[in-house]
Chain length 703, copies 2
């Protein structure tokens, strides 16, 4: 529906404020839009699949003719009772539909979903689904003018189908409808996860819950919950209560809360795989139990970030007694068949420097520290096996002799994954999905656990279970974590669900922008928290100029934020301008695309649009200065804003020259070049994401 | 500090978008603002108390000379250990300070707050405070250039002082500081509460927690938690688990969650008074236990709102056995010495129609149904007394012979309170604090448990413990409840804390606007949820025109929303435009004040400002129509937007005539009058809050 597409595009080019359009144009716009609506409402224009905003894109979409019109007597029905996962999904479905449409549904959907002659939306599944890798998550969705049918092999498949249907709500002049179509769908990979690090910064229960809801909206099905690390031990242990009493600053999940979260996840068809990282990344354990560490205590909760020295002593029998009792408790608390024991980034120094440990190694023919870690893993694996869990670990757990039913999670590279698969291990890919490093959705989207040019054989490919986006939490707080997860993780969710040939980046962004808005419905604050954070910084509601700058800025990438000034600790504020910026600037991307198109076409209208952006950015600096003047915490962004104004000057000049087919004076070229280079430097841990677009414009002068 | 005041005023007149100011003016503005900053930074200009944004206003504020400059080596210290309520308050204090200022404090404030030679902020209290009415909450705050001292009789007083200090953070060109001053403060009333109704719509744990934090920021100290009603039974009962299993749709607080919330409240110095409303407002109990009702079942959870018929049968001994066991459990769960048993709005019909009940009444000389309710209360009071709780109830519990240690909460009127006090009862006022009815902050602010013209004697006045704002939840959800509580409840908080002579309404609004922003720091979403809700309605990010309309609209008042169209049920969506509007339009108030001032002064600059508003509103309709065209859920606001444009036309015309000292043609007067009257009618359950301001302008033409 082109009109829908039009309004979505308008929604994405946030730099274009509609008040700049004259009233005459607005009326014209209104007439055009209204006639589209009427036209489409009346003629039921053939819907193109490129107008659908589905993410992940289904395996098969067949658009048929017609629409299912939504009214207040929209009844859903199936054969399940209240309390059943599907019943609850049905209730949530109706609630979200009501929330979007303002319809006061007649059905008391919290009481009954029995099939009756009023039922319009029928759901059916054959058998209960188990929350294990390999479970059938397929579904078929058929929308007819008079009814909707959702079928699946398992109830988990039904949950996937509900989310697809919710992405298919359209509207026109007459009201709301679902387009008639037929979808067949099933996931490419069975393990599609998001890691949430609750240790570096504690993530309260409501943070986890809303992110579970958002995950289910894009069909992610594993929450990999990183529950312990140097900075905090986050789970209540009744067996060793001092772990959470001394290792958490009071910020931990009670067992009841964990059960509640597991319950919600189960209702959403999401598995929860807990991780207790061992033997490294474990300082917080030793605050209470220094006797299991490899160097004498006492220990404090670690506030700094990086790889820490404290590490479990794998040569003591009491270490295994301790971990056995602990894992006995935890394996009972977490029902998933898999249990992650970490194993990454073990600094061998404390092992090397402990003579008792060295003696043990000699005595037991353990040649080096990696082999000692392998010994430790073998002991832990025995324990996990005793408690009927399968082990997952990071790359480093691989050692010759590691049993083959251990799942290896690759963070160090694609090659590492290929290696492990070739040795017969089931693997997960996280390398390339490190969303904490502020990469683009494009970059994550094209990253593939089994890329098109993969050297693996068909049999080997089966060992690749899937992948996980990783939200490491050194630089996020409950206020900002949602904006670092969403919407980019939607692109990863598609990569892990949709067929391998679904790779069109522009198409992905088109749909990602819609999903970006839709996600808010689940409670995630990735969009709404920015104005709040800017208001706090400005101590004012007049934040427009800050929003304009933020829309084209991104946090600097990789680990560079840690080396810009004062080192971050877990107590450092995460409330500055950089923390308020979104992880990816859609505006910058759109601007660059616009410039690319303009340079090809020399279209005057595109030139006007480019000019509009540049003038907005150029003018923004003055307004921003007025706000920043008495906000010391915002002083740091003045050069960023100045840079934006300067590069906009350059962009406008370049645009003028291009339009008039003029050349640029070589001396001026040089000075402009210097300004652009200067603008590449990080300011306040931010970079100007629109710089590449301006450089494109400028560089075309050189030809 | 006038510069601060300037920027705050700019913050409040949200209708003025700074981009309308030319660059020249912006530079001028910048120079002016910067020189204020420099001037004040250099000269330490005398601070007027009218520049302080304290709410509630303290008893005594003495501004001295100088500033305490805030730097990264700002250490706080006192004599308490980690885990202590004050230690936690200190940690929260530092965290909020860091969040606002971006300062990376050196102190590891989660580990130690020991006094050392680095300490700059000293806190001290004499004795632990008990969370009971009448406890000492006084504090003294002294800020010197080189140190800050906060002292209080009890640790609860210290908490109050921490919040005051947080309201005293200022900034200038050089950075952040606290102005040197001396404050002595203590509350006027000891019981300063907010009722949260978790039954009509369930309020998840995070909603309650963030509102506790917001309450503490304005020194409210009682959460009156309405936990059961017709629409839902919200507490886990281990003694009668079917209560929550069948009466809650799965939405209830586990006992562990309740303990957690009580714990947080205690850390904030807030009491939690639970309410289980009996014998009416109790349908949800009878789903599981119809045998205690006065008419045969079966019963369903009530979805509709209003006064329901189901009521406990007070003539059966088993009813008291049941309630005894239940109250034994609940009185152990909730530590507060007070326990609220409701008692409001009992419909006597089921009692009248039950012959057994009528027989019982005859046999026991109970003359009428009110007397039967009194009998019920006497029986319950015995139970509560056995479990060492004091009873609180609504107006209707009063009957001759009601023991004098029952606290009566007045909702039906000031006279009812005076009556009860004169009979010797301790009382609370909620009449006039019904924030669900969408009254203005002014109205609530001037409402007083002991108004200046109170007929009570000095002794009698002592029986008035305080008051409570009531957030009845028929028309709020977790998405909107914060915007219906805040910021207006800040004005009520001041009424209940500050001396009776603090009554200047304009001054209150000046400070309320600042508090409005500051509250976000506690996690409440009263501001940030509006754009999110508008985005969902528009299915777009282009919501500017919706925000312009929302800024001058308010939900209609009283109970009128329930009679506008389809009746609301507890499953109805609360996501429409009216739900996205704030409870009070500051812009409308400012506009009206502007018009009043202009009509007195005929100042040209004010005329320009008025013109600016009116032109913005007039132009808004076109843009809004483009957004609304394909959003069926927004169709209902088209007449509202049209009305805004029409009355703006009228306002602009009136303004022109006034400026040119012209009269208005009588025929035109009539047609304009009609338009204005038409614009008074509710549209989509909203009213145009700026209409009175426009009418003021228009009516001046008649003179």
């Amino acid at each position: 529906m082109l009109y829908r597409k039009v309004s979505q595009d308008q929604g994405s080019s946030a730099g274009h404020y509609t008040w700049q359009i004259s009233i005459r144009l607005q009326l014209l716009l209104l007439v055009i839009v209204a006639s589209f609506c009427l036209h489409l409402g009346a003629a039921e224009e053939e819907l193109k699949s490129t107008s659908l905003n589905l993410m992940p894109w289904p395996v098969k979409v067949e658009i048929t003719n017609g629409q299912f019109r939504l009214t207040e007597n929209f009844y859903l029905g199936g054969e399940v009772k209240p309390g059943h996962r599907v019943f609850k999904a049905g209730a949530r479905f109706m609630s979200r539909l009501a929330g979007r449409t303002g319809l006061f549904f007649e059905q008391d959907y919290l009481v009954t979903q029995e099939i009756s002659n009023r039922t319009k939306f029928f759901y059916h599944f054959d058998q209960p689904g188990r929350l294990v890798p390999g479970e059938d998550e397929s579904y078929q969705l058929e929308i007819y003018p008079e009814k909707i049918e959702l079928k699946a092999k398992t109830d988990v498949g039904l949950l996937r189908g509900f989310e697809t249907l919710l992405q298919l709500l359209f509207s026109d002049e007459q009201g709301y409808f679902f387009p008639c179509l037929r979808i067949e769908d099933f996931p490419r990979f069975t393990w599609r996860g998001l890691l949430i690090d609750s240790s570096r910064h504690f993530m309260p229960v409501d943070v986890v819950k809303r992110n579970l809801l958002a995950m289910s909206a894009v069909k992610l099905n594993v929450l990999h919950w990183h529950l312990s690390d140097d900075q905090g031990f986050r789970v209540e242990s009744k067996v060793f209560p001092r772990l959470h009493q001394l290792g958490s600053d009071g910020c931990y999940y009670s067992q009841e809360e964990i059960k509640e979260i597991i319950q919600l996840a189960s209702e959403l068809g999401i598995r929860i795989v807990p991780e207790f990282d061992l033997p490294g990344h474990s300082t917080s354990w030793f605050v209470a139990y220094p006797e299991y560490a490899s160097a004498p205590g006492p220990y404090q909760i670690e506030r700094k970030f990086g790889v820490s020295l404290p590490v479990f002593n794998p040569t003591l029998e009491k270490t295994y007694k301790f971990l056995d009792r602990f894992l006995k408790e935890m394996t009972a608390l977490f029902p998933d068949p898999y249990f992650h024991l970490g194993g990454d980034e073990v600094d061998p120094r404390q092992w090397k420097e402990n003579p008792e440990i060295q003696k043990f190694m000699k005595k037991n023919n353990i040649p080096d520290e990696p082999a000692l870690q392998a010994y430790f893993n073998r002991r832990l694996l025995k324990i996990l096996t005793k408690y009927q869990k399968k082990m997952v670990g990071w790359d480093e757990i691989y050692q010759p002799g590691l049993p083959q039913d251990v799942v290896i999670q690759s963070w160090r590279g694609q090659e590492a994954l290929v290696d492990a698969v070739r040795k017969g291990y089931q693997c997960l890919l996280s390398n390339g999905y490190y969303i904490d490093l502020m990469g683009s959705a494009e970059k994550h989207y094209l990253n593939d656990p089994v890329p098109p040019d993969s050297p693996l054989t068909a049999e080997e490919k089966k060992l690749v279970l899937g992948g996980e986006a990783t939200m490491w939490a050194e630089l996020v707080s409950p206020e900002t974590v949602d904006s670092r997860i969403w919407p980019r993780t939607g692109a990863i969710a598609e990569r892990l669900w949709s067929p391998v040939e679904i790779r069109d980046v522009d198409e992905m962004y088109r749909r990602l922008k819609v999903i970006n808005l839709r996600l808010e419905e689940n409670g995630v604050n990735h969009l709404k928290n920015q104005p709040m954070m800017l208001r706090r910084l400005a101590q004012s509601e007049q934040i427009k100029s800050l929003e304009v700058l933020a829309a084209v800025s991104e946090p600097i990438k990789g680990y560079s934020r840690h080396s810009q000034g004062k080192p971050y600790s877990s107590l450092s504020p995460l409330t500055r301008f950089v923390d308020a910026c979104y992880s990816e600037s859609f505006e910058a991307r759109d601007f660059k695309r616009l410039v690319e198109n303009f340079l090809k076409s020399r279209d005057r209208r595109q030139a006007e649009e480019i000019k509009g952006y540049l003038q907005l950015w150029q003018a923004n600096h003055q307004e921003l200065m007025a706000i920043v003047a008495c906000s010391p915490v915002l002083k740091e962004i003045i050069p960023l804003s100045e840079n934006l104004a300067s590069i906009s000057d350059i962009g406008l000049e370049a645009l003028r020259l291009i339009l008039n087919s003029k050349k640029i004076d070589p001396a001026r070229l040089q000075t402009r070049q210097k300004v652009l280079e200067e603008a590449r430097k990080p300011v306040a841990e931010c970079e100007l994401a629109v710089l590449p677009g301006v450089e494109l414009l400028f560089n075309s002068l050189k030809k």
